[in-house]
């Protein structure tokens, strides 16, 4: 148990001083939440929300790495801009599809929309 103890000591010492890893951990949690929403929610719109969470998590990573890089370059931020652009596009398309599915099947529950299965 010694190693776990030393890990805890190190971790508790590190935790109050916000550094790059903090942002990354927040991002990881947000990402996991997004995945969970995508994987479990039956409502298609909720799935889309999950996607937004995942994208936000990714953006945090981009910007955090950009900020903590040694020469403070802005490439990460540019990438984040593009992700936002894509997110907007994706949301628009996704919602359009959802509306279309709703017109056709009178539901937005993804597990009921299963023409793909056999």
């Amino acid at each position: 148990m010694g190693s776990l103890g030393s890990f805890w000591n190190e971790f508790s010492a590190w935790l109050p001083h916000v550094q790059l890893a903090h942002f990354l951990i927040v991002s990881a949690i947000l990402f996991a939440l997004g995945i969970y929403a995508i994987a479990t929610r039956r409502n298609a719109i909720m799935v889309l929300m999950g996607v937004e969470l995942v994208l936000n998590a990714a953006n945090i990573n981009f910007i955090a790495f950009s900020r903590y890089s040694t020469d403070m370059n802005f490439d990460g931020q540019v990438a984040a801009i593009f992700v936002i652009i894509l997110a907007a596009a994706e949301a628009a398309i996704g919602l359009a599809i959802v509306l279309n599915i709703y017109h056709r099947f009178q539901t937005v529950n993804v597990d009921e929309v299963s023409s793909l299965k056999e």
Binding site: I38, A39, T40, S114, L116, K117
Partner: protein, 690 residues
């Protein structure tokens, strides 16, 4: 008249019938009266022009040969030969000029006659078109100065003959006869062609005069005397086919299936005489041996045909065999060296034989109408046993027929007497010169037979009582359009047109115009020269005349005794000589022999080869295919069970895993997302471990 003008007119004579043919074949049916007037006037115009040519030729250029040549194909500088050109052209000598008139004259008369005879025929315009084509082709033969054009015309008349014999092709016998005529002719042409090939190979030209010059210069085919004789005989083969000589004579009697005017024009007067004309043309290259072959072929033919003619009952068949016999006569005469006599007989024979055929046509026409009137479709209108007593009903036909019969029998004051007598004298001279006495013997025998069967024909047809009293009342004389040609031909069968001296034609214009050409073959191969021949001829002439008169008289007497006075019973004779009679009636069984040996032989061979082709040649191909397939089958089994087995096993494995994995395929995207994420994690840890 200048030479060129004369040649141009000759060319016009040649082309007029062709023009008529071209118009008739495309537009004949749409012309008024189906265009018979067009054809007839074209050929009549040709006749007038031909007469002009003859007159001009004999008066102005008696001894010259006029020629008009053009380069047809130029092979330029041929390796091994130097420059080679195929030059074709026409030539005009006395022989040609006379033939021009004979051909156009008979053709014109036949055209006229056909207007009456063929009236109402379903292919009336087509008929006249073919007549035009025939006249053209025949004139090509006559005018050609080279073997190539000669051969062209030769084939063309053959095809016209085919078309016209088969004019009533609804009858199977007619179309069979047409094919027979053409194919039998082709057999002769095969020899003719090989002969031409030999000469072309030797002299590299088709021109007759150049070939003559070459031989005169001592240049022989393959450098051998023997080959010169052979090439002469091979060329003569063409004549054997076209002039229906033994052994290719079988087509001519069958050719009588054609309309009677066609028989008169093609199968009596002109086309069949082309063979004689060919021999006359090629006379200078014939060696003594070749001439001997020719003489014997002619004699055999004359004899066989005359014997067959005795036993025939079909009026046209009798005339057909008579034609063959007379053609044999001419060939024999040429072979014997009686060149002028042979050719003269060609001319006179053309007149009276055409007349005989047209006369028989007139009779058949009348009989046909009478039978038609009586609604009798069983009785054969051509069988002389159904005739008799037609004299009173058809006086013009009868009297002209008698004139022609007298002429063919060689009775004095007729043209036939002049020519026949001269031929017999020639053969006699030949016999005494060479010792081949069988030639003159056959000549006299055939003369007697000819008189016999011809008078038998006349008596059975015109004299005595008609077999059916009712039918005879419906027999009428034919119209003017048919009798006029008969009258013209009857007039032309009188001696006066050929010679003022009724006892011999030597003073006549033909004898002066047509002289035996000098042989070009080396002296050691040549027949006795014209001079020698003439001398002997002078000695035997009177003997020959007396002999021929007596055999002709005997023949006539026998005919009258048997068929008119009934002193001798024909039936009794036939019974007494039953095997001979059957032999003659069946034409010496030539047809049966050829059918059994040649036709069935070729067809059998064809069937055999077809079998070979299907089962052996193609069988080998298919066998190879089958063997390949056998090998393929074995390797296929190997493939299926061994090679493919592995493949199938792997497929089976895939299928198994597929079955398992398909459980994961829920069709729900969200599950896939989870699996994807899980997969990423798994990979992450795997790589971490590694």
């Amino acid at each position: 008249m200048a030479q060129d003008t004369l040649l141009t007119v000759a060319l016009a004579v040649l082309l007029l019938p062709l023009a008529a043919f071209t118009v008739m074949i495309f537009a004949g049916k749409r012309l008024p009266r189906q265009g018979d007037w067009l054809s007839t006037s074209a050929i009549a115009a040709a006749l007038i022009l031909a007469g002009t040519v003859l007159y001009g030729k004999l008066t102005l250029y008696h001894a010259d040969t006029l020629a008009l040549n053009f380069t047809w194909i130029d092979f330029h500088d041929v390796p091994g030969l130097g420059p080679l050109r195929i030059v074709l052209g026409i030539a005009l000598d006395n022989l040609t000029a006379i033939m021009l008139v004979v051909v156009t004259l008979i053709s014109t008369l036949v055209h006229l006659f056909s207007i009456g005879y063929m009236g109402g025929d379903i292919r009336y315009s087509r008929y006249f078109a073919y007549l035009g084509l025939f006249s053209f082709s025949m004139l090509v033969i006559v005018l050609a100065n080279n073997l190539f054009l000669l051969y062209v015309g030769w084939e063309l008349v053959g095809i016209c003959s085919y078309l016209l014999i088969g004019h009533w092709y609804e009858k199977k016998s007619a179309s069979n006869a047409a094919i027979k005529a053409f194919v039998v002719n082709r057999v002769g042409d095969f020899g003719f062609f090989v002969g031409i090939a030999i000469l072309f190979m030797t002299f590299h030209t088709f021109s007759l005069s150049e070939i003559f010059d070459g031989i005169r210069g001592g240049h022989l085919p393959f450098g051998s005397d023997w080959w010169l004789t052979v090439s002469g005989v091979l060329l003569f083969c063409g004549a054997v086919g076209k002039s229906a000589q033994f052994p290719l004579h079988v087509w001519l009697p069958d050719a009588m299936e054609g309309p009677t005017p066609v028989s008169a024009l093609i199968h009596a007067a002109t086309m069949v005489a082309a063979g004689v004309y060919l021999v006359a043309r090629l006379f200078p290259i014939m060696t003594a041996d070749a001439l001997l072959v020719i003489a014997y072929i002619g004699a055999i033919t004359a004899f066989i045909a005359a014997t067959i003619a005795i036993a025939q009952n079909d009026i046209k068949k009798v005339l057909a065999y008579s034609t063959i016999s007379q053609l044999g006569y001419m060939i024999m005469a040429l072979g014997a060296g009686a060149y002028t006599a042979g050719f003269f007989h060609l001319v006179t024979h053309a007149m009276f034989k055409a007349g005989l055929f047209l006369g028989s046509g007139s009779v058949i026409h009348a009989m046909h109408n009478a039978l038609h009137h009586a609604d009798d479709h069983e009785t054969d209108p051509q069988d002389i046993r159904n005739m008799g007593g037609l004299r009173a009903k058809m006086p013009v036909t009868f009297w002209t027929f008698v004139v022609f019969t007298l002429a063919i029998s060689g009775v004095p004051l007729t043209s036939g007497f002049l020519s026949k007598d001269e031929i017999l004298a020639g053969t006699l001279a030949f016999g005494s010169l060479t010792g081949h006495v069988i030639i003159p013997l056959t000549g006299f025998l055939v003369a007697g037979l000819t008189a016999f069967y011809m008078f038998r024909l006349v008596i059975l047809t015109f004299l005595g009582e008609h077999k059916d009293a009712n039918r005879i009342t419906h027999v009428h004389e034919s119209g003017l359009v048919m009798t006029l040609p008969l009258l013209v031909l009857a007039a032309l069968s009188v001696f006066i047109f050929y010679s003022v001296d009724p006892s011999g034609f030597t003073p006549g214009w033909i004898a002066r115009a047509v002289e035996r050409p000098e042989s070009t073959v080396p002296l050691r191969l040549a027949a006795p020269s014209a001079g020698v021949f003439e001398e002997v001829l002078g000695h035997v002439h009177l003997t020959a005349m007396l002999l021929s008169l007596s055999v002709a008289g005997l023949g006539m007497l026998a005919a009258f005794a048997t068929y008119y006075w009934k002193k001798i019973s024909a039936d009794a004779v036939a019974r007494a000589l039953a095997p001979v009679h059957a032999f003659l009636l069946n034409k010496w069984y030539f047809d049966e022999l050829y059918q059994a040996v040649v036709v069935n032989g070729v067809l059998g061979l064809a069937a055999l080869l077809r079998w070979v082709d299907t089962w052996i040649v193609d069988g080998a191909v298919n066998g190879a295919g089958r063997v390949t397939r056998g090998v393929a089958f074995v390797s296929g089994k190997f493939d299926t069970y061994v090679v493919d087995g592995l493949v199938n096993f792997s497929a089976y494995l895939s299928g198994f895993f597929g079955l398992v994995l398909r459980k994961f395929q829920t069709g729900r995207v969200q599950t896939y997302v989870l699996f994807a994420v899980l997969g990423v994690m798994v990979f992450y840890f795997i790589f971490r471990l590694v």
